[in-house]
Symmetry: C3
Subunit: 438 residues, 3 copies
Amino acid sequence: MSLSNQYHCGHNSSVGDDMYELMSDLYPICRSITGDGVRKTLQIIMKQIPLKIKEVGTGKEVFDWTVPKEWNIRDAYIKNPKGEKIVDFKNCNLHVLNYSIPVKKNLSLEELKKHIFTVPDYPDWVPYRTSYYNDDWGFCMSHNQLLGLDEGEYEAVIDSTLEDGHLTYGECVIEGEQQEEVLISCHVCHPSLCNDNLSGIVIATYLARYLQDNAPRYSYRFLFIPATIGSITWLALNEHNVSRISHGLVAVNLGDSGKFTYKKSRQGKAEIDQTVRNVLRHCGKDHEIVDFIPYGYDERQYCSPGFNLPIGCLMRTPHGQYPEYHTSADNLDFVSPVNLAESFSIYWSIVNVLEGNKKYVNRNPKCEPQLGKRGLYQKMGGQKDTKAKELAMLWILNLSDGKHSLLDISDASGLKFDSIRNVADLLVMHDLLIECSQ
Amino acid sequence: MSLSNQYHCGHNSSVGDDMYELMSDLYPICRSITGDGVRKTLQIIMKQIPLKIKEVGTGKEVFDWTVPKEWNIRDAYIKNPKGEKIVDFKNCNLHVLNYSIPVKKNLSLEELKKHIFTVPDYPDWVPYRTSYYNDDWGFCMSHNQLLGLDEGEYEAVIDSTLEDGHLTYGECVIEGEQQEEVLISCHVCHPSLCNDNLSGIVIATYLARYLQDNAPRYSYRFLFIPATIGSITWLALNEHNVSRISHGLVAVNLGDSGKFTYKKSRQGKAEIDQTVRNVLRHCGKDHEIVDFIPYGYDERQYCSPGFNLPIGCLMRTPHGQYPEYHTSADNLDFVSPVNLAESFSIYWSIVNVLEGNKKYVNRNPKCEPQLGKRGLYQKMGGQKDTKAKELAMLWILNLSDGKHSLLDISDASGLKFDSIRNVADLLVMHDLLIECSQ
Amino acid sequence: MSLSNQYHCGHNSSVGDDMYELMSDLYPICRSITGDGVRKTLQIIMKQIPLKIKEVGTGKEVFDWTVPKEWNIRDAYIKNPKGEKIVDFKNCNLHVLNYSIPVKKNLSLEELKKHIFTVPDYPDWVPYRTSYYNDDWGFCMSHNQLLGLDEGEYEAVIDSTLEDGHLTYGECVIEGEQQEEVLISCHVCHPSLCNDNLSGIVIATYLARYLQDNAPRYSYRFLFIPATIGSITWLALNEHNVSRISHGLVAVNLGDSGKFTYKKSRQGKAEIDQTVRNVLRHCGKDHEIVDFIPYGYDERQYCSPGFNLPIGCLMRTPHGQYPEYHTSADNLDFVSPVNLAESFSIYWSIVNVLEGNKKYVNRNPKCEPQLGKRGLYQKMGGQKDTKAKELAMLWILNLSDGKHSLLDISDASGLKFDSIRNVADLLVMHDLLIECSQ
């Protein structure tokens, strides 16, 4: 495959705007780990890419877990003693403790407060809270609002259902030349929160969209799943096929303006780890690479010891390291088309390296071949500098011994992967290099 | 075994005082590599722990060495021309060159000076000198005293014996569940010198004393031996059993106020090296870790290439790096109960890690087990932080693949070994973890 | 072998002066990759060492290359419109583009300028340029001279021949006890340029000269070859023997006053790499060690993947990193006898380490042997310091387990290789150490 470099190493405001627009469409939906919010989300994504929607019934055992009851919600509000709605799910779906059981009761302020969550440090923001595997109900509001509540009798109404149903997820496969797969995973269970994780959803969607026109070498599998239970369910249902996964990334927190952070796979020295490091080194942006830790997103499941897949997590600011995280402030203003486009270009560069990273053998391994007679080398000797392209030729010829990949050569030489790959193609054309059979 | 944490990571003034008192009892005795000074020393230690006293006869060949004649001394002095005793062994046993042959002669100041040793840089201190394998005699005194000596005829008397006899050492074994042993070695050949090495002796004694009440997993062998010839003799007599030694430390220089210094075993990456590094990292004290060098204490013999045992040396200030070293200034004022207690707590922590360091296997290696349904995980989702205990669970579950020990997990996670071990016990109780068979 | 340390670690003005004198004799000759200039150069070197001159015919295929036509030149000049010679080959052989085809023509200034090379940044210097595998002609001059040229008709004359003939190189072998070889390679194709590479030529010559009196352990092969085509030709003709090459260095840029720079072999951890690092560490001079890159001198060929020989490049300032490089300013003033002598002493130290680097086995591997009874250890105990020689004994005895070479022991202990080797000899004499059979 020869990936178009259209979105490579640069801001493409068009793809940024497109992703931002998709995010805006998805933003209002109240998602959870199950229910119609996920279905609506996937239906919107389906307009962009060939997505298959999968449904797994409540009660299905998936490793140590069980697919939970399906949660849906129609309405929720609190009325103050005067009968005024002081919080209303219809205005902001974060107001409801996600997965709340149905409730309809009158209660004192004191009783009500046991079911209210706020962020005292940011008193204008509404937090995001969940209670998935523990029957409970509650509301989230700004701390300032809580402080202003008068004594009296309140009415709390949550018109939700928690019933046997399904866990829903989406899967999009772009078939490549090979069965070996690259897995891109993002979670679709968060309600109106942009960076975590509508950003990952739109990056994954547009990666799939552009890849389908490129006839890639690898097959690409995109998972749009609820966090934790979604990856566990997918792994349980696809256990026999995970050996196909050669590389993977969890996509999250990709719309903020922070530097890029790559959390390595548990393996630590997998090709995906080498690839992301190489791309980030050459991208000219501030970035950080951190070791795997067993806390974070779905890489926790992919990298559990029984799977230990070569899957890392590439984000901008990690979870919990920005105050807007899991609050109403993680909204459409917190992310931007420019940041999304930049994140997309990094992901695209990574795909580009994975696609092009092969091993070759120098067909004239004894001494250098005479590049000059093939028009590949400067005619005039004695000068101080050799050109970058000639340096790339010498590096490739010297290290193409069947042990070093083009990525290894890029790392050793400090030359960009694209230069190395293009020059390798040139050397193949001149019969100086031959691809290793796998 | 579950070691009491009573002396763990903290100063226990009681054990410090107890050790200091024992040291005070041992201080006046004139020890050497053989003779009654060692016997008296071991008899005092025997009151604390079940010590066996071993005697090896003069002339016994031990590898390339031979057990020397036994040295004993009753009296020694120099009288000045006026007949006044100017140095007297009975006041300070350092005054005699250790292992001096008997002498009784009158001689000029000039002649006498050939047999006098001083420390010119510290003119008030009396040095400690020996002449073990070379028949000689001499006296040590302060440099100021030497400068004040008048011309005239002096009388030098050393009432010593150097005769066939025995080399004496002490051995204390605390039987554990396993035959595998931890060796703690200290030298008992130095006369009135506190840091080197009454400090090592009292630490070893109290470790043995507390371990005998704890039914440890490992067996513990404590050697109270003369330096060099003692470890060589013990290794020669126990050559067939050294394969039992799984870990070991040489205990020395543990009463001064300097930072901790760990000299790694020759292997360099043995479990004892990893253990001491982990304990020192978490102890909150300044410390240094240095590579093995073939100079120092009995680790020279334990780590000779034919044995190469996993034995390091944990001290405070290394030999030769404090001016009081091997002088009369290494006295009871130079060490303190507080320093001894702190050293003890580090040794106790090391024992604690060795005892608890095992490998486990996650019984649900595919994806995380559902901790919440077992009451092991927070009920409310969406929050920024996970608790330390939950993090420890995730680390243990993720790395317990049969390859990583609890100590490896402590190192990887940065969490204290005790937290890791306690949480591992909890996971075992919940059937989530199982100990690897050895 | 026991190499004389006469030139070891110090400036020997005599050898520096001798090398500088030889360089002065070689300086005026117009060398190229073929032709009489190389022959004259080799004949002068033959007066110093037993050199064999080899001739390889034009058209001989050597791997991917072909031995080119032989180039010789008798005269060359440019006459200005007044008929005055403005550049004259007889004054400075750099004036002619090396390997120029014959030319004799009148032409306008504009036409002439297409064949003129200068160094605008250093307008008084004449550059060195070549056109080996591309039929062309040209002149090199100072930029200031070019700027002063008037319009009018010029006459350009190059009285050269480019005909079937030979490629000439020199080879000097100093037979040692073993067939294993150390290869020292220098290029002899540059005309009047001192640092690159008359400096390498004279260092190689004097190394050979002093080695022949020393009955070395290794055999030493010195190659005096044209760059690139010379090493390719030699490798093609000697392909069956290269497995004898145990270590090697390319000698170049050794007369300037810059710090030493060692470019590692492609293997990176070969014994030559360890040796040079050890020597440079102990030489007390500023130096730098850089990784192999596939650009530079003949190490490009020796380290091509089909050979991958353990050959590095030891120079002072690397090519292209000093402005005088490949210009008329790389002349006899740019280099000095003192710099050459210092470079020689480093090369001599390297040879010395290679010669003496062996593995030994401690014959008393269990515990230390008793050095005192052999008179090898201080008699008086208790002192702070042990002597360097005793430390060396302890290091050698501890690490001589058949796995560590003397160089490894020097590296581990920080003690100079010479001290280690001398003490190893002493221990062998006392039957404490025995050389490993290879």
